[in-house]
Assembly symmetry: C2
Homo-oligomer: 194 residues x 2
DNA sequence: GTCTATAGGCAGATAGAC
DNA sequence: GTCTATCTGCCTATAGAC
């Protein structure tokens, strides 16, 4: 039996859950296998059974995070049609992360970029590319239907939204918190007012 | 004699120079006394003579960085009168940091915030406060003389500029580099077009 | 001020019993 | 899958000679 009840999580999943939070709060170089093990009540050796090296754990964390993010974008596309509503929903993803006192996982890793294994570095870049591609699409839609200003190219707008939101999260954790983040996010979106 | 020639730097200063670069590239948790010692050709013990603990080294790094940043803002105030020129010069400070393949020192530390000694955390918050105070002043001047839009409060504008620029640096190091940063910075400033 | 030497702890990682 | 036990290496930091 891999689990003790229908709702129980495997050790691998619980490891990812704890490691994900530690990574988003303290950074990849700011937590250890010992931290995860203590929180789960298992030994470090058990963790190495599921994730032999920390680089592999990191790869798994980015893969799961990117996958969930992509799912969330898919959900937005299904649930909303108005491009402005899509952007509001996009910002809301970030708000919920910050509400948990966390930084965006890939934003955190972007800071530590130069210290990371190559596979992780590439995966982070890919995460940002995918986000920008989605945002570019939404902005282009909004410009086509007139709901968004066409004073900026969709590509430029998506770059500014992505980096603006990541920066607002970064600073808000040290100064101003969620209210400040949401205020900055609103200002960013106003740029696209027609 | 504290130095061997009029232009020679003390070990303490050279330590700060190397540590500063390592911190801006790899983060506070991403370098060690051994890294600095190897680069300077001295022993770790020598470094501990000048900076007994890493927390004290970190305090000194933030203090020097903040002081230089404040000097740069003072120079801008002396050399330019037009608020738009001041903002351009402000962005240029960031561009030069990124040109050296570095992240803003305090932006990097903002990511590692939760792992830092209290004295460092407080100093980072103070750095951001001072930057925002300066920016708020410049925006207010520009609104008064009509060179900047008054569609946003100076406080909101300064928050968005600071976090937007920090975020643009953060992302540009993994995707797009300096050209992308400068493009995003230009877009941010356009928000203040009258 | 800088060195050698070393302490004490924690990091990531592995071997092998159960 | 999880454990005990252990390895090796690096970390911050200190003592004491020069």
């Amino acid at each position: 039996m891999p689990s003790t009840s229908p709702t129980a999580l495997s050790t691998a999943e619980r490891t990812l859950d704890v490691a994900e939070r530690l990574l988003q709060v303290r950074g990849f170089n700011g937590f250890s296998y010992a931290d995860i093990a203590a929180e789960l009540g298992v030994t470090k050796a058990s963790l190495h059974y599921h994730f032999p090296t920390k680089a592999e754990l990191g790869d798994a964390l980015i893969a799961r995070y990117s996958s969930r993010f992509a799912d969330a974008l898919g959900t937005i596309d299904r649930d909303t049609t108005n491009p402005r509503d899509k952007l509001d929903a996009y910002v809301n993803i970030y708000s919920e992360v910050l509400r948990g006192d966390r930084m965006c996982l890939c934003g955190m890793l972007a800071a530590e970029y130069e210290t990371l294994p190559h596979s992780m570095a590439e995966a982070i870049t890919q995460f940002f590319r995918e986000n920008e591609a989605w945002l570019t699409n939404v902005v282009a839609q909004g410009q086509a239907d007139g709901s968004l200003s066409n004073g900026v190219t969709p590509s430029d707008a998506s770059q500014m939204l992505l980096s603006g939101l990541e920066g607002a999260m970064l600073i808000a954790r040290t100064l101003g918190g969620l209210p400040r983040f949401q205020s900055s996010a609103r200002r960013l979106l106003e740029i696209l007012n027609p």
